[in-house]
Amino acid sequence: MTHLIRELQKREEKLFHCVHCGFCLPACPTYTRLGDEADSPRGRLHFMRAIVEGRLEPDSPAVTRHLDRCLGCRACESVCPSGVEYGQLLEGAREVVARAGGASFLTRLLPAVMGRPVLLRPAMLLARIVRGTGILDRAVRRLSGEGWSGQVRLGLGMMAATSPPRLLSRSMSPNELLGPEEKMDAEMPGETMGHGTRAAVFKGCVQEGLLGRVNHATARVLNANGFKVVDVPGQGCCGAVHAHTGGLKGARELARRNIRAFERAGAGVVAVNAAGCGATMKEYPHLLGDDPEYGTRARDLAARVRDISEILGTADVRVGGRLPMRVTYDAPCHLLHAQRISAQPLAMLESVPGLELVPLRGHEECCGGAGVYGITHPELGGRIGKDKVRAIVSTGAQAVATGNPGCMMQIGAGLRMAGVAVDVVHPVELLDESYRRGGLYR
């Protein structure tokens, strides 16, 4: 066991930044619902410290349960005066726990599929076929929310939630691939923000598999704003799910693969429309900090990574046609807390003419998505998810916008299970729709 603990000890200095002030407690969705400090950021850091000090074993059921119960939303980092890098410490601790044999089957299954295109592609294809039959929505309506069936229902609901939104025009074709030289906008004005910069779109695994329309919208909108969108063959899963579940080795392999792919493409900007992926890619330098070959290259890539809202949430973004819709915005944790991006997505939505943006109570709190949290922790995940759905419904919005596939799926499933007809969209889709209506894509 000692060699595992040494992994945590390497992070000891960071751990000791925590002075136990407790300011993180009210920001933690699990603590505010469970009231147990073992389910608070301070408590989890205390567990880690006890492991380092040799007072607790990493496979102690208490440690496993409470570290596992963390959503990884990192809301605690946004309120920590001492700047404790909780997310990175959690990844390290989960690796120690996983190697000590504490990780569950599902937590191991998911990264195994997502990191392997051979498994991922057929899985996604199958999911799209099933989704196309409409059977998912019927199942969500019929299945009971109790026990085992409730977990299946949530899983199916999450898949159904990736269906195209009812209020927007259907994309050209569900899974068209945008070629590198494809001209989306022949009459692009010269004074646009991109000035012909080569921009790559990071496609991701679930995003590309189930929400390909968001990637296409991203490419179109970038193109319309003067970026030259280039294709990046060889890119793959960002490794977030691996890192979050203690598979740091797998995450590093995927990071290296992406670094190579994006280096070859020579893009000045790497646009990411999945907050979780963006956060992970911006942290590649930390992940590969000890790698003599890839350390610098990781920093190079990370410096080019931008969330799509960072690119488009500025005054220079082109204005499209009217889109008279009442929309609310939920901040993905990995955008707000991990990447500290709050104003830009709102600016992006406010740039859409006719769109009425209504504030969402608790928009800064996790939706309970956190990978497959609702399936691994049905009771608690369900409570967190229902709170989010209630808040969304109370806004009276026709659509909720959020920039992360996990959140789109979790919120979409929650709305479906509650029988509420509110669309879930990515903010870039609304901009895309506004451009289409404004005739910017001719």
Partner: protein
């Protein structure tokens, strides 16, 4: 020693009684899990409890306490664990009764400017609930984003604005308490003056030694119409201290007068709560006036003049509410930001007469130098309430000893200057050893007698406040 044998598990019948009181989900006793409850925000004192129970109502809390009493098991109340004197630590074992589920705001009576809340409500949440009525709950401990009203009652908490508004005891009008044997009673008049002995007043500041206050009735004040906030930069902390004395002796009544020194400024400015305090300054003073708009400007100008006369380098005015909030965030998150200086810290909490501030601050710097320690000062200068933070690393036991010794010397200096051993953090475990410095044997006798009245069996938060010969020297 008194207390529950730390190696003995709790009686099975007691566990069953506790489960019957709160349900199986809300009692934990797995020893590994107890590790997270071994300290509060004062990490120098550490002991895991036997179990933790989280009741949701006064009735559940009463059943829990009654069961503990019946089995002779110690009861340790705990709010959010943000306390700075070790008050929520199960020093001698026993069961922690946490208030994290008692978060209901039971009543806001805006016409009579009062509210009734459960003890686990956060100070900030109470303020958010009453703000729509143009009201606020005045005591504003720096930890108000995380600390609970129940904890504020236990510690009689203060905060930056208590210079003008006074501390918790001034605002608590009634308490519903679970006595150490489980009986439930109201203390105080619930909105009316009761006369006779002020039992609610006695309970406020009792640091969990008299029982558990589960419901708290508080008086609210109208939100001030306007505010003026100055950030004054000084080359030395002594100059800042002199400015404070000058402002007060001029007859001005600021709502808050707060000093942060160079080390604190550096920690805060490195954090996400950076407020634009200049990192090359010796100290910064935050001065705030609030109330009706008329006159505020003149008071602020007069205070600015006092500061310049005392040698201030620069006076800045907060131009917007946003700037004002940023200044306050920087100040209020200062304690939490100390982790940037070292892994551990001992924050002291002593009060001296304002006029003695410059001299005492110089003595503190001298003591820190002599013990080769880094000290970061952040404090409520207006009421002479000092918070020297001694930062250290507990992995170095020798440094830990130096901190202990320096801390004791600082205490002595404050008491010799006519001060006392705690301004607002409470005595807890940490300051029992200094009690004899400020209390006469007769007073200590009376304090023990009062404790005896509430808790004859000595089951309620033992090892806190009152010296009993078992405190570390």
């Amino acid at each position: 020693m008194d207390g529950n044998d730390l190696t003995e598990p709790l009686p099975l019948q007691l566990l069953r009684d506790l489960q019957a009181a709160v349900g199986t989900d809300w009692i934990f006793s797995d020893p590994d899990r107890m590790v997270v409850y071994e300290t509060d925000a004062q990490t120098a004192h550490s002991q895991a409890p036997h179990a933790v129970v989280l009741p949701a109502t006064t009735e559940e809390a009463s059943e829990v306490v009654h069961a503990l009493h019946g089995h002779g098991i110690l009861m340790i109340p705990r709010g959010a664990g943000t306390g700075l004197s070790g008050g929520a630590v199960a020093l001698r074992g026993g069961v922690v009764v946490g208030t994290s589920r008692m978060t209901g705001i039971l009543e806001v009576d805006h016409e009579n400017r009062r509210a009734l809340v459960q003890c686990g409500v956060l100070n900030n949440d109470l303020n958010a609930a009453v703000a729509p009525y143009g009201l606020h709950y005045a005591p504003d401990p720096s930890s108000q984003s995380a600390c609970t009203i129940g904890g504020n009652v236990a510690e009689n908490s203060g905060g930056p604005h208590c210079l003008k508004y006074g501390v918790t005891s001034r605002y608590v009008t009634a308490l519903r308490v679970v006595l150490p044997d489980g009986r439930v009673t109201w203390l105080g008049g619930q909105g009316r003056e009761q006369g006779a002995f002020d039992l609610a007043g006695l309970f406020v500041g009792s640091e969990g030694c008299f029982g558990l206050a589960t419901e708290v009735e508080v008086a609210l004040l109208p939100l001030p119409e306007a505010a003026r906030t100055l950030l004054v930069i000084f080359e030395t902390i002594e100059d800042a201290g002199r400015a404070v004395t000058a402002i007060i002796s001029r007859g001005l009544l600021p709502a808050a007068l707060e000093i942060v020194d160079r080390n604190t400024i550096r920690a805060v400015e490195a954090s996400i709560f950076a407020a634009g305090y200049p990192t090359d300054a010796g100290a910064a003073l935050v001065v705030e006036f609030d109330g009706v708009e008329a006159g505020l400007e003149r008071h602020a100008e007069e205070a600015a003049r006092c500061c310049l006369d005392a040698g201030a380098r620069e006076v800045r005015h907060a131009e917007s509410d946003q700037e004002r909030m940023a200044l306050w965030k920087g100040r209020k998150k200062a304690f939490g930001a100390m982790g940037r200086l070292a892994p551990d810290l001992l924050v002291q909490d002593a009060t001296v007469p304002r006029s003695r501030l410059p001299g005492v601050l110089a003595r503190i710097s001298e003591i820190a130098r002599r013990y080769d320690l880094q000290v970061a000062n952040v404090f409520h200068a207006g009421d002479g309430n000092l918070h020297p933070n001694l930062v250290y690393d507990r992995r170095d036991p020798e440094e830990g000893r130096r901190v202990e010794q320096a801390s004791a010397e600082i205490m002595k200096v404050c008491v010799e200057a006519g001060g006392t051993i705690t301004g607002e953090h409470g005595v807890g475990v940490d300051k029992r050893k200094y009690m004899h410095l400020v209390f006469s044997p007769a007073e200590l006798e009376i304090l023990r007698g009062v404790k005896q009245v509430f808790d004859p069996m000595g089951l309620c938060n033992p090892g806190k406040v009152l010296p009993d010969g078992q405190e570390a020297p």
